[in-house]
């Protein structure tokens, strides 16, 4: 489905990825683990077309996407990929439903249709009643569920989640992961989940560990 092949990436003089390779199957939920500074978030950014590798390839359903110009990578990020980050990164001036509708609005969906589709997610993620609130009026767990809805509203093929529960307490984090995994499984969404927390990684089908910019698979024999 999506794969990185021998990817190298440097931040200035500092190498972040040194020949990282990973392959994620369609509908699979993969946890990318590793210590701070190991390169796991950089790998996610390369897979998602946010960063362009210095060398190596990123392929989506067999097609190279790292050679796409920025405009095409941007469309890919908007139409094919969804994102959830550690801090929801909601736009504070917009209401919760406008935040969720954002990827649809940017993709050219008419405002009323986009808002209607956005509202469907509030019930699904147990945050109905919060549609008109602004991000400052939401708790951490509510804001993260709004961010999750925004990541999933355009029915992405791949959802990239970078420490999606990092700012939440254990119970709220568990709820967000439960919702994320249930929604992804129902829709057949492939998920790349970056986390340093084993309890979060345990929601995935499989895990890999990034160390010193390379990927080691812990469970080749256990892969489904």
């Amino acid at each position: 489905m999506i794969e990185a092949i021998e990817v190298f990436f440097d931040f200035g003089q500092t190498p972040a990825l040194r020949g990282a390779s990973v392959s994620i199957r369609e509908g699979e939920i993969l946890a990318v683990m590793g210590p701070s500074g190991s390169g796991k978030s950089t790998l996610l950014h390369c897979l998602a077309g946010i960063l362009v590798p210095k060398s190596g390839e990123i392929r989506l359903s067999g097609t190279r996407i790292d050679t796409y110009p920025e405009s095409e990578r941007s469309s890919l990020r908007r139409d094919t990929f969804g994102f959830v980050f550690q801090f929801g990164q909601l736009v504070p001036e917009l209401t919760a439903e406008e935040n969720v509708a954002l990827p649809l609005l940017l993709g050219g969906v008419r405002r009323n249709d986009a808002l209607a589709r956005a509202r469907e997610w509030f019930g699904r993620l147990g945050i109905d009643g919060l549609e008109r609130r602004r991000s400052g009026e939401l708790s951490g767990g509510q804001a993260q569920r709004v961010a999750l809805a925004r990541g999933l509203v355009a029915r992405p093929k791949v959802l990239f989640a970078d420490e999606p529960t990092g700012s939440l307490d254990s119970l709220t984090g568990e709820l967000v992961m439960e919702l994320l995994v249930t929604a992804a499984r129902q829709d057949g969404t492939t998920v790349v989940l970056v986390t340093h927390e084993p309890r979060v990684a345990a929601y995935a089908d499989r895990e890999v560990v990034v160390r010193d910019g390379r990927v080691s698979s812990l469970t080749p024999d256990l892969a489904p």
């Binding site: 439960e178 927390e197 084993p198 309890r199 345990a202 812990l218 256990l222």
Partner: protein
């Protein structure tokens, strides 16, 4: 904690007297519970009977400890199989994890590989418990949580140990 397997591991470094084995065992593995001399010799006798070690010629001198024991190919095989096998993930297994790491380092084996195998075993168990939580009653969820948090504590120790392997290797070698 398996005393026979630990003694086999210590013997894999070099043939040793019972006294040396007791000293090294107590230094690394028996700080809270030193090994009795009687247990060392009883264990060596059993290992010898089972073909895992062989006693050398009695050396001249005083005292009972005059034989140097060496590991046999069968003993070596048993020890290596044990060392490579991940421990069943359950709470309170740190002592076994710890012993495996120290022995691997002592013998110049890949402790990192062992830690990776153990990490995978832990995460597999955590996935099973997480799946249970998604389907079972709240009481089972509580039990699963208890297991998950303990396994997570082990994993933190595994990660910390993996990060410290180079300096640990120097400490064990000195």
């Amino acid at each position: 904690m398996s005393v026979p397997l630990t003694l086999l591991g210590l013997l894999e470094r070099e043939p040793s007297h019972g006294y040396d084995l007791k000293r090294d065992y107590d230094t690394y593995f028996g700080r809270d519970k030193p090994l009795a001399f009687g247990q060392v010799y009883a264990t060596l006798a059993r290992l010898s009977r089972d073909g895992k070690v062989v006693p050398g010629e009695a050396e001249p001198g005083d005292g009972p400890d005059r034989k140097r024991y060496a590991i046999t190919p069968e003993g070596k095989e048993e020890f290596e199989a044990w060392l490579a096998e991940p421990v069943t993930p359950e709470p309170h297994l740190q002592t076994v994890l710890f012993s495996k790491v120290v022995l691997a380092l002592m013998l110049g084996r890949s402790a990192e590989q062992y830690l990776d195998t153990q990490r995978a075993a832990h995460l597999r168990r955590m996935r099973e418990l997480t799946e249970l939580k998604r389907t079972d009653s709240l009481i089972d969820v509580l039990l699963a949580d208890h297991g998950l948090f303990h396994l997570e504590a082990d994993l933190r120790w595994i990660d910390m140990t993996a990060a410290r392997l180079p300096s640990l290797a120097r400490a064990v070698a000195s």
